[in-house]
Symmetry: C2
Subunit: 479 residues, 2 copies
């Protein structure tokens, strides 16, 4: 773990030259993650996991405030249970890892490792729910899931990943729809206010929706290379799963009815998103709300009397005020330290040396703008907090501007094709799967990202096939 | 989820008549847990998971205060990696679940689902650690593990369970030993102060130690049926795993040395322990520090004007003071509610009705003693907190007394055999595995629980075989 950061920084690819390599360089060199001995599985190192813990805390609070409780359901799904919802199993079967042996014995029925838990949770809901009085059931679980992937990239697509999956059951379709929208809103508010990532929300096309869902809603973000990343989805299953798994309730009127269920999920993929939205050629840039270290104190000329003591004092003051702060008094050179903590994306660097102590001040450097300024010791906590808020806001605004500058309206296929090579495209679309597949083929991979809630009339015919248009749709290449 | 609690309470077996059935009745009827469709796997329901979340928060804080960071390592362990430490694989192979297929393809190498992660973490440490400057490495992970079990009981022994596993690497054996003891102490302090469970700490026999460890230390608790439950273990691996997985570092003197590693773990089994230590014939009795609901407010004659408003007011006041409080204004009968919340082990019941409001008071009933008293509204928060602390302390003391009353010193096999049928036995022992196995056979299952740190001279010969005694040892039947 001892590295020369200067050497490392030299080795980070430039975003403009090779964005995928830049991403890989950054996540490995900042100790966010590492490859494991298992194909397609990542090791989340403490610095990366620290971000995940902050994400979890923020999301979990929001889930609980909206009435959800956490629970834990088994990792294994018997094959006979998985296949009860036909569309669902068709969608997930190619990605399932199968357990065939326990101890030294062959199992009589093989077990799927959960790729998602609608099936195993549905079967429990069927047992637990009897009457309308039992509804709604509002649960969430934080866990690992496995989807056997051919080509993987840490955080973005791995065979095993960590996520949360909410699962709810309701009396009516309308209540399920309300829940689906509520949780999409929770996701959006979280993405924008905590991750500082602006998102487009809307409905997925029939082709892109969750296997077995009635409707899937999504939030989509733009990365700095203009590609889209789906950051979270919320599904209204209507009674599809209730019918597959016999989730029924006795209504007030004494009639046996099927429940309407929902599910909604978001994962460690969000960490990949925030790296690709905010990072720069020096490395990570972490939004303060999810930065494991919000400010790093670097004592200057720390061998001189009083410097370390003053730095320690400052450390304690900031820590007592709930600022996540670290002091780096290692014997590395100042240059090494500057580079190291810049690369790690710590929002603020605080330098304190003999001259600062004389003047009763510190020097503060912002990671996002690299601006340097002297701040008086008096009222420093408040000033630091204000700067953290300012950085949080600034990152959001910068990301928003980038997205807007790389989003175009297309009125024909030529414009659409040109637009998706650079960013997001808004275009009218016929909503036919065939047309969607043709667009993907011809553009070298662009897909419908969502039919946004915020519609805008761009014409009456499909930008690709010329048939009657049904909705304005976002198109983009995606991770 | 609509149940008649009165009916349920009737169905809880008496502890004295059938302790195992009492345990199963309690965990199922209080919605702590449920059986799943997968053999040997449990569903942890929100009320049970709420206890786990509180346990996690308390432990996690202690791990971080002692310098550990959380990380996440893969669920899968390639077979070739698992088998590198011979003793380890021998110990765990009979319990491993194997993945043989991913998607529709047969894997070239089968993957074990982690029964514990020394192997996969060791292989990463080998990569990360180069120099003495990199040491110590102090990590922990919260995750699920799988051990294929023939006979299972929720929380106590299941094929999948949740746990934390700490893994550390050090320069010397002494530092590893220090860490091993430090974490055992953390466990003990947690068990006694948070779970209110007194524990005996000491070293495991050669037979009972962790597969591949140099030495295993444990904390053992007594359940109300006199049986032991191992609540957490801490292992010094010396350089066993470092040699198996090539975890080496360059010393200050420029010499390549093997690291010394440790690991320590505790699991959802602790929930089973606190149920079996504190519960009574009415159901659960939860220590306030891990009770998802610390106080339940029951409005009496809630249709009368002002009652619900006053109850709400009280609810808000207690909640604002960080007391985990719930208000039950459902239309169930008071008797039903009393039984329900008693069964669920909520430490305090607060009744508030028209007459109480008139007198500016509430009626408070303690779950542990069932004592009922009126308390003035003025200063109620403080009084409630004091009572919660009092219950926490009282539960510990009660458990301590029970353990002491059922622990005997044995000087010969007859006394030993008699003692283990009722509780714990302290006896001198020769430390021979053969003798240990004979004792197990002859007593109908009693094993050595640990060689406690607190030794006491009970003689000079082994209580069973008469050979020279090496240490005073605890014997008991165990879960």
């Amino acid at each position: 773990m001892t590295n020369s950061s200067q050497e490392f920084v030299q080795h980070i690819a430039k975003r403009a030259e090779d964005f995928p390599k830049w991403y890989t360089d950054v996540i490995l060199k900042t100790d966010m993650v590492d490859y494991s001995d298992v194909r397609g599985c990542m090791v989340i190192k403490p610095y990366g996991y620290g971000v995940w813990e902050l994400i979890q805390a923020e999301m979990d609070r929001r889930f609980k405030e909206t009435g959800h409780e956490n629970a834990y359901f088994p990792l294994f799904i018997p094959e006979s249970l998985l296949i009860k919802e036909a569309e669902h199993v068709e969608g997930f079967a190619p990605e399932v890892a199968w357990v065939t042996h326990g101890g030294n014995e062959k199992l009589t029925e093989r077990l799927a490792i959960r790729p998602t838990s609608e099936t195993v949770i549905g079967s429990m809901y069927a047992k637990w729910i009897q009457s309308y009085r039992d509804l709604p059931v509002l649960m969430n679980q934080w866990c690992n899931v496995v989807r056997w992937e051919k080509s993987t990239r840490p955080f973005l697509r791995t065979s095993e990943f960590l996520w949360q999956e909410g699962h709810t059951a309701h009396a009516t379709f309308e209540e399920a729809q309300e829940e689906t929208m509520r949780m999409l809103d929770v996701y959006k508010e979280f993405a924008e206010n905590v991750l500082a990532i602006p998102v487009i929300t809307g409905r997925k096309s029939e082709k892109e929706k969750f296997a077995g869902a009635y409707a899937t809603y999504t939030m989509e973000a733009m990365m700095q290379d203009g590609k889209a990343l789906q950051l979270g989805t919320s599904h209204n299953m209507a009674d599809n799963f209730a019918k597959g798994y016999d989730i029924q309730y006795l209504s007030k009127e004494g009639k046996l009815e099927y429940c309407n269920t929902t599910s909604w999920g978001s994962s460690t993929r969000m960490i990949g998103g925030l790296i690709m939205v905010h990072g720069d050629d020096r490395g990570l840039v972490l939004p303060p709300k999810v930065a494991p270290i919000q400010a790093v104190i670097l004592p200057v000329a720390q061998h001189k009397p009083g410097v370390l003591e003053k730095a320690q004092e400052l450390f304690k003051e900031l820590q007592a005020d709930c600022i996540r702060v670290k002091i780096d008094s290692s014997d590395q050179s100042p240059g090494w330290k500057f580079n190291q903590w810049e690369m790690k994306g710590v929002p603020l660097r605080i330098e304190i040396g003999p001259r600062d102590i004389e003047k009763d001040q510190v020097v503060v450097v912002r990671r996002d703008t690299l601006e340097k300024q002297s701040l008086p010791m008096a009222g420093l906590n408040r000033a630091i907090k204000d700067m953290l808020n300012d950085i949080q806001r600034g990152l959001y605004e910068k990301a928003y501007k980038l997205r807007e500058s790389r989003t175009v309206d297309a009125h024909n296929f030529e414009e659409l094709n040109e637009g998706v090579q650079n960013g997001f495209v808004r275009a009218m679309w016929c909503k036919e799967t065939e047309c969607e597949l043709a667009i993907k083929e011809k553009t070298g991979g662009a897909t419908t990202r969502c039919i946004p809630f915020e519609q805008k009339e761009l014409g009456t015919i499909c930008a690709h096939c010329g048939k009657k248009a049904k909705a304005m749709t976002y198109f983009a290449k995606a991770y």
